[in-house]
């Protein structure tokens, strides 16, 4: 199986890749930091990956997704699975203080993610099979004071994946949006600890389950589906405190 992972050094992406490596899959790891990518590639190769190559990309720079996917299809092989995991989470306070910084986050979290997903969908549609996994977040389910700007980029992914799934219905291409809750990762290392935090591997397990069941949306871990159903319908005076 040929798997391309965008933002492969993210903790969730790494956990997924480790699980998939044991089946002898081939990996193209698209990363910004190639030194960390090489470390990851070595880990996957030792764990049984048939191939693990590192491809450099800057997700903050516009307009490279189509060329990137085309190059992968040509040099690496027809993509069977694409995991789109790049993302940044600047603090709400820093974004509020410098609204111009929004553009970078939106480019990385939304524009580059959707561009990759669409480019992969086009390539896969022609072949009639493929899986596209997009990392969203429960933060996209409702605007909360603590992280509504980050959340809005994830909400955009949810809307787009919802539409893309209609678009791909009947083509044999499966698109799935994953909505992790709080996950231990370098990105969340500064947040206060909470029992709601999950290990990256728990998200990888949920992703595998979602793929096996052809889910369009997978909350990870699954209890977040219930939590977010409550939060989505909670009155404003409750959400104000979250």
């Amino acid at each position: 199986m040929n798997i391309a992972i965008f933002g492969a050094t993210s903790a969730i992406a790494h956990a997924c890749a480790r699980r998939w490596a044991t089946t002898g899959a081939r990996f193209a790891l698209v990363v910004r930091d190639t030194a960390r990518g090489d470390t990851l590639a070595a880990d996957l190769t030792a764990r049984g990956a048939a191939d693990a190559r590192v491809v450099r990309a800057d997700f903050a720079a516009d307009g490279s997704a189509v060329a990137l996917v085309a190059a992968l299809e040509r040099d690496f092989g027809a993509l069977d699975r694409v995991l789109v995991a790049q993302g940044v989470m600047p603090s709400q306070a820093s974004l509020a203080a410098d609204p111009d910084a929004l553009a970078t986050m939106v480019t990385i979290n939304m524009t580059s993610v959707l561009a990759v997903a669409l480019a992969a969908a086009n390539a896969m549609r022609a072949r009639g099979h493929g899986e596209i996994v997009v990392l969203g977040s429960v933060a996209g389910d409702r605007g909360r004071p603590s992280n509504y700007l980050y959340g809005s980029t994830k909400a955009a992914l949810a809307t787009a994946c919802d539409g893309l799934a209609y678009d791909l219905a009947g083509t044999g291409v499966h698109v799935m949006l994953v909505k992790p809750g709080m996950v231990h990762s370098p990105m969340t290392a500064g947040l206060p600890d909470s029992p709601l935090f999950a290990e990256p591997d728990a998200i990888a397990v949920a992703i595998d389950r979602g793929l096996a069941r052809h889910r369009r949306v997978a909350y990870a871990p699954a209890f977040w589906r219930v939590v977010m159903a409550v939060i989505r319908h909670a009155p404003r005076f409750v959400v104000r405190k979250l």
């Binding site: 903790a11 044991t22 960390r36 470390t39 990851l40 070595a42 880990d43 190769t45 030792a46 764990r47 049984g48 231990h184 990762s185 370098p186 290392a189 600890d193």
Partner: protein, 429 residues
């Protein structure tokens, strides 16, 4: 920051840890402060407990660097557990030459405690199979250490004090089959245990004795020697006849009363002395307690101690003195283990095993009476020229430690000034 307690869960033993994602993120304390890296927190007492109440948990530093499937070597980050490592190497036909009683320890922890396994007579300690490691020190130096270098020898068995091991290169052993053929033999005293163990050494890779400490009376006890060999390759794919029994721990829970312990031992004695050979997955066979997560909680809120000591061959009479004292105390041991140690030398001058016999057993923390019992046990060990295992210890007197491990002065000299454990302060202070 998260809070951790060592495996024995004794009161007052906690440490606030950072759990870095990369070695670049390691949080060294400011000048004057100390920390200590540890893996899975499976040391029982205070030997992996940072002296200043802070520590570095290495469990996320668990990447493989290289796995040579032909030569049988692996290089990995020190936070990788032996269980995860086996998940990778077993399907390729390799195993670890030395595995301790649980696989839920990190490579770094196995190295720092120079752990031993049920094949000590044949394979020696973990440190004998370490090809190299990279040692990071608080002065910023990063050194690859190989056998023969003083820093290599002091870091193996060095209790994490010489620096932080980032990556290690290990030699693997071919795995003929993921199954073992196992049998048992009853024994009724220490002498008989030694005789059976020494006979097993010629024929079996693994051997370990279990016994009921409550059954001890004037040198007589009820025990079973478990022996096993990896199965022949041609039966490797045959399904095991029966799944490995799980230890009937439910009997002992929630309270480890003497009655419950006796029932447990009765059952275990009976089940293990049934004749015939078992064909069992080697991991289920060698690591029965790994099937039961958090079994240490069975001992209740005040935690427990494990005494593991080793006595040299010429002083084995001391074991009966020790067992008499334990039997008199009526403080039950949940697991009572005897293991013969062989003569293969460790590269480490701080290594625990010595040619002789090791005894391990647990004591629920009952406060003063348990403390008195452990103090008496330490005195008996000292009197017979034995030693106590740091990885299990929470109470041994400093004088006993310094006498039994004379190389401690060299380790203290090589200690990184920013690394210190409560154990080390206690036994060297």
């Amino acid at each position: 920051m998260a809070r951790r307690t060592p495996w024995g869960r004794l009161p007052g033993q906690t440490v606030d840890v950072s759990t870095p994602w990369s070695f670049a993120d390691l949080a060294w304390p400011r000048a004057g402060g100390t920390t200590l890296a540890f893996g899975r927190g499976r040391s029982y007492g205070d030997c992996a407990l940072g002296a200043d109440g802070i520590g570095i948990e290495t469990r996320r530093l668990d990447r493989l660097v290289a796995f040579d499937r032909t030569a049988g070597t692996v290089e990995c980050e020190a936070g990788l557990t032996l269980a995860s490592l086996l998940d990778v190497i077993v399907p390729a036909g390799w195993t670890l030459p030395v595995m301790p009683g649980t696989l839920e320890v990190s490579v770094g922890g196995a190295l720092a405690n120079d752990v031993h396994g049920k094949n000590h007579e044949r394979a020696g300690t973990f440190g004998r199979h370490v090809l190299a490691f990279e040692l990071l020190r608080s002065d910023g130096s990063c050194t690859w250490c190989v056998p023969g270098m003083p820093l290599f020898e002091l870091t193996v068995g060095g209790l994490g004090l010489t620096g932080i091991v980032t990556r290690a290169r290990l030699a693997l052993a071919p795995l003929p089959s993921p199954y073992v053929d196992a049998d048992t033999q009853a024994f009724h005293g220490v002498d008989e245990f030694v005789a059976l163990s020494d006979a097993a050494h010629a024929t079996h890779e693994f051997s370990v004795g279990w016994f009921d400490a409550y059954s001890w009376r004037d040198g007589r006890l009820r025990g079973v020697l478990q022996r096993a060999n990896y199965a022949a390759p041609d039966v490797a794919r045959v399904a095991p006849r029966s799944a490995a029994r799980r230890l009937p721990l439910g009997l002992a829970s929630p309270a480890l009363t003497p009655w419950a312990i006796r029932r447990f031992n009765d059952l275990y004695h009976w089940s293990q002395t049934r004749p015939g050979t078992q064909h069992v997955d080697f991991r289920r066979y060698l690591f029965p307690l790994d099937a039961l997560a958090d079994w240490n909680r069975l001992y209740g809120a005040r935690g427990f101690f494990q005494l593991q000591c080793a006595l040299p061959m010429e002083a084995l009479a001391g074991l009966d003195v020790l067992l008499a004292r334990i039997a008199a105390a009526r403080e039950g041991s949940f697991l009572a283990v005897l293991k013969r140690f062989g003569t293969l030398r460790s590269p480490s001058p701080m290594s625990f095993p010595l040619p002789g016999v090791t005894l391990a057993l647990d004591f629920r923390n009952r406060g003063v009476s348990t403390a008195r019992l452990l103090a008496d046990a330490a005195a008996i060990v000292a009197e017979h020229g034995g030693r106590i295992y740091a990885a299990k210890d929470a109470t041994m007197p400093g004088a006993l430690f310094r006498a039994a491990y004379p190389a401690w002065t060299a380790l203290e000299a090589a200690r990184d000034p920013r690394l210190q454990s409560r154990f080390w302060q206690r036994v060297t202070g």
